[in-house]
């Protein structure tokens, strides 16, 4: 069994990272999950949260606002709508993410409303965990 797998984190605006990882923790829509090499092929949507990448070179954390992850035996790709390394996740960026989430919720079509409202709340709680205030 391989020790590592290819891990990519991309957002529409840029490619955030592409490394060999031994495990990746994902905030899946139906609960957190950890993907390791030789995982069964899975596609899952993500809720706002932190993606934690464990690699031989050390760990790295990224905040994502949603999107989806594609897991295969040899690699994991996260396609995030918006993402940033935790170290760069400042109050300004949070405010930006929050504004997006709230705008999306306010403009949502009825069938999407629940989903998007939940997202805004979840984003706020992620921010609280990281010591930032979402209502600033």
């Amino acid at each position: 069994m391989a020790d590592t797998m290819q891990f990519d984190l991309v957002s529409p605006e840029r490619k955030l990272t592409s490394v060999q990882a031994s495990a990746v923790q994902l905030p899946g829509a139906e609960g957190d999950m950890t993907a390791m090499p030789d995982h069964a092929p899975t596609i899952t949507t993500l809720r706002p949260g932190v993606v934690r990448v464990q690699s031989p070179d050390g760990d790295a954390d990224y905040v994502v606002t949603g999107g989806f992850a594609e897991i295969t035996a040899t690699g994991t790709s996260v396609l995030a709508e918006r993402a940033a390394p935790v170290s760069e996740f400042t109050q300004d960026l949070l405010n930006e993410f929050m504004t997006d989430a709230v705008t999306a919720r306010d403009h949502a079509t009825p069938e999407m409303l629940d989903d998007l409202a939940k997202r805004a709340t979840e984003l706020a709680s992620v921010a609280a965990d990281l010591g930032l205030n979402a209502n600033a």
Binding site: R14, L79, R82, T109, D115
Partner: protein
């Protein structure tokens, strides 16, 4: 024959025009590089997204597919999303898109369909206004946007999806310039709603069978709006790069033309200066002979 002073003024004015076009060319070159980088940075996301969506769409292509994918079942009302630039002086960039959109609109109208137009970018709006002002439903102004972000695309796509759900149109087609190289930009029409996803390697994809969380339909419903936004985003970027490329080559041509014109005017200036001197000499000599 224009007199010397006029010629001199003319030369000066062409020289300053050349300075401006040269500067614009260099600015466009710098912006082009940035736009190209942005377009390239978005490519991994777009490609992977489309591959996954193509797989999903293919496997859930039944009767219960979401409306965004399956369509409304009619194709009576067409919405043309025309993407152009906010500024001019970029050669045939805007005209080629406007021409293509106009041809499509005429074709649809000839078939008895209803056409609606939504413009992104001021220049296309100006060009289409004469013929289609009464069918223009909205305009997206990006002139204040310094750097195109995913947000801009998200705004447009949210608006489109709303209109779609409100039954304002059945099919949306987007017009933009695909960036081939600095010299060539290809006007392209893509259908965005109902969504179509083309995977480059559809054959490989079907080989892997994925588990889906939550469900296939759930994922599809969540991701389809993002899919529309992603397509719009990548076309906005392509269009941005094309615009700078078109402007760069247009300004390069303009600079060269200005140079040629200066050469021609300078020759004319020198000839007429010599003619004036010759004339004066003749006058002096014939005056002396008359004495």
């Amino acid at each position: 024959m224009p007199n010397l002073k006029d010629l001199k003024n003319r030369i000066e004015s062409v020289k300053s025009t050349r300075k401006i076009t040269k500067a614009m060319q260099m600015v466009a070159a710098a912006k082009l590089r940035r736009a190209q980088e942005a377009a390239e940075a978005s490519r991994p996301y777009t490609e992977r997204f489309n591959a996954v969506m193509a797989g999903l769409a293919a496997s859930s292509g039944g009767g219960n597919a979401p409306k965004l994918l399956a369509g409304t079942g009619s194709d009576q009302v067409h919405l043309l999303v025309v993407m152009t630039s906010e500024r001019g002086l970029c050669g045939g960039f805007n005209s080629s898109i406007a021409k293509m959109a106009r041809a499509k609109a005429q074709e649809l109208q000839a078939q008895g369909k209803t056409v609606k137009i939504l413009t992104v970018g001021k220049k296309g709006r100006e060009q289409l206004k004469r013929d289609y002002e009464d069918v223009m439903i909205d305009h997206v102004d990006l002139s204040e946007v310094k750097r195109l972000g995913y947000n801009n695309a998200l705004g447009i796509s949210t608006d489109l999806i709303h209109r779609f759900h409100a039954g304002e149109f059945d099919v949306a087609t987007m017009f933009f310039n695909r960036f081939e190289s600095v010299m060539s930009q290809v006007p392209t029409a893509t259908q965005i709603i109902p969504a179509k996803f083309e995977a480059a390697d559809a054959a490989d994809d079907s080989a892997t069978i994925y588990d889906y969380e939550p469900s296939e339909e759930g994922i599809l419903a969540t991701l389809l709006p993002s899919g529309v936004a992603t397509q719009i985003f990548s076309s906005l970027l392509e269009n941005g790069a094309s615009e700078q490329g078109a402007r760069m080559s247009a300004m390069d041509n303009a600079t060269r033309n200005a140079g040629d014109m200066i050469d021609k005017l300078t020759i004319q200036y020198n000839r007429s200066r010599q003619a004036v001197i010759t004339n004066e000499l003749i006058e002096i000599i014939s005056g002396a002979e008359a004495l």
